[in-house]
Subunit: 215 residues, 2 copies
DNA sequence: ATTAAGTACGACCGGTCGTACTATTTGCCA
DNA sequence: TGGCAAATAGTACGACCGGTCGTACTTAAT
């Protein structure tokens, strides 16, 4: 049974270009014709690799998850569990699509608002991805609680919820409003969130954790 | 039968249906054919009221601003300046599109992530609207500072930035993830934001976290 | 050498898109 | 009651949509 000319290579090439396109124009903007032209092949030739447009969209989403895992999660996991790992993840998370070489924003963030009311397999996949992502965040926060760097009384779900708000606000201000101060705003908000999570009741001087860093 | 209602009535009817449609399917989902069918008239008959699709989109955005002003801003302005006015605005803001009778989410929130990288007049209009909205938020926060209900040392822009994050996180969790606890999470986050804004280092007796409160 | 599978192409399907141009209806006023 | 301008409908267009078809070429297993 033959594999022929360039099976996995072409498919990967499609997904690579497609992910870049997706980040720039969103799910509804990725059409078979535009993607094929971008890759440099015919629409039907591209179509042969997937059996439907929906399959293309799902493959692109999984491709994105893989990329995000490599550039955001993996480096964080090299840090020791606890605050160091968590802050590394957040620093890599903010604006990750640009750092990963994509020309647009985070496709999941866009899908969160694009697929509000549009049911289907694609929506379900994004729901699952977002759920897994928040579970990961929660796990890292719990590690920081276990290491006593965050308070044992912390409402972890609330922490994660607010952290997602910081990410979304950063996305909106940096990518849509194009505010150059977005990184600083996000970092300030994250530090405040951490400080609040370090103890419901006060301690002496607030430790200046979270090193300078960030452009 | 033919009551024919002159120009403005039909146009208003188009915008009314169109705004509902916009909130459900986003800017790219509002097509002339679908909108015309929704209103119950022909595509060309509808088209005659606007000279282009872009004009329809811009009119819909302005229609939305008008509605939001009526259901979110106006009630808040009946409150006295300060914390009362600010919290009333925030309470009306969260999930406002549903309260206003729209079947979908906030069109501007969606546009924030849909028009990331798509330049043009529509994007410019959304940028302007979002800018005006944040100025309004800032003004109300400043009123609360003036009335000494918030600290004079408060970084107002940072406050507004984080408040927008709460709004976006609430939108994502309530409309996309369909988490029934979204309202509570948002309110908790807002209370924490307020507490932090009430004094740079005030925390006298450990305050009992969030008061019972909440609708 | 034959066969079968994989890959890619160009032509094409019915449909919808936005947008023109033309008809027809409608309400109002002389 | 006739006429008129505005409002709506009708029709047509080129472009693009997702998707199918027939076909040719390449490769791998028989």
């Amino acid at each position: 049974m033959g594999m022929a000319t360039t099976n996995p290579a072409t498919r990967d090439r499609i997904l690579e270009h497609g992910l870049d396109l997706l980040s720039a124009v969103g799910l509804s903007g990725v059409t078979l014709g535009v993607l094929a032209a971008d890759v440099g092949m015919s629409k039907s030739g591209l179509f042969a690799h997937f059996r439907s447009k929906e399959a293309v969209q799902l493959a692109l989403l999984r491709q994105m998850a893989q990329l995000a895992n490599a550039v955001v999660v993996a480096p964080a996991l090299e840090q020791p569990p606890g605050l160091a790992r968590l802050t590394t993840l957040v620093e890599n998370w903010l604006g990750w699509s640009r750092k990963a070489g994509l020309r647009g924003g985070c496709p999941v963030a866009a899908a969160l608002f694009e697929l509000d009311d549009i049911d289907g397999d694609v929506r379900a996949e994004v729901v699952a991805m977002e759920g897994r992502w928040r579970e990961l965040l929660k796990a890292l926060v719990c590690e920081a609680v276990a290491s006593r760097e965050l308070s044992v009384d912390l409402d972890v779900d609330q922490f994660v919820w607010e952290l997602c708000g910081i990410y979304l606000s950063h996305h909106a201000s940096s990518r849509f409003l194009r505010d150059p101060g977005a990184d600083r705003r996000a970092l300030t908000a994250f530090e405040a969130l951490l400080r609040r999570a370090q103890g419901p009741w006060p301690r002496g001087p607030s430790p200046p954790l979270s090193a300078p860093e960030e452009q």
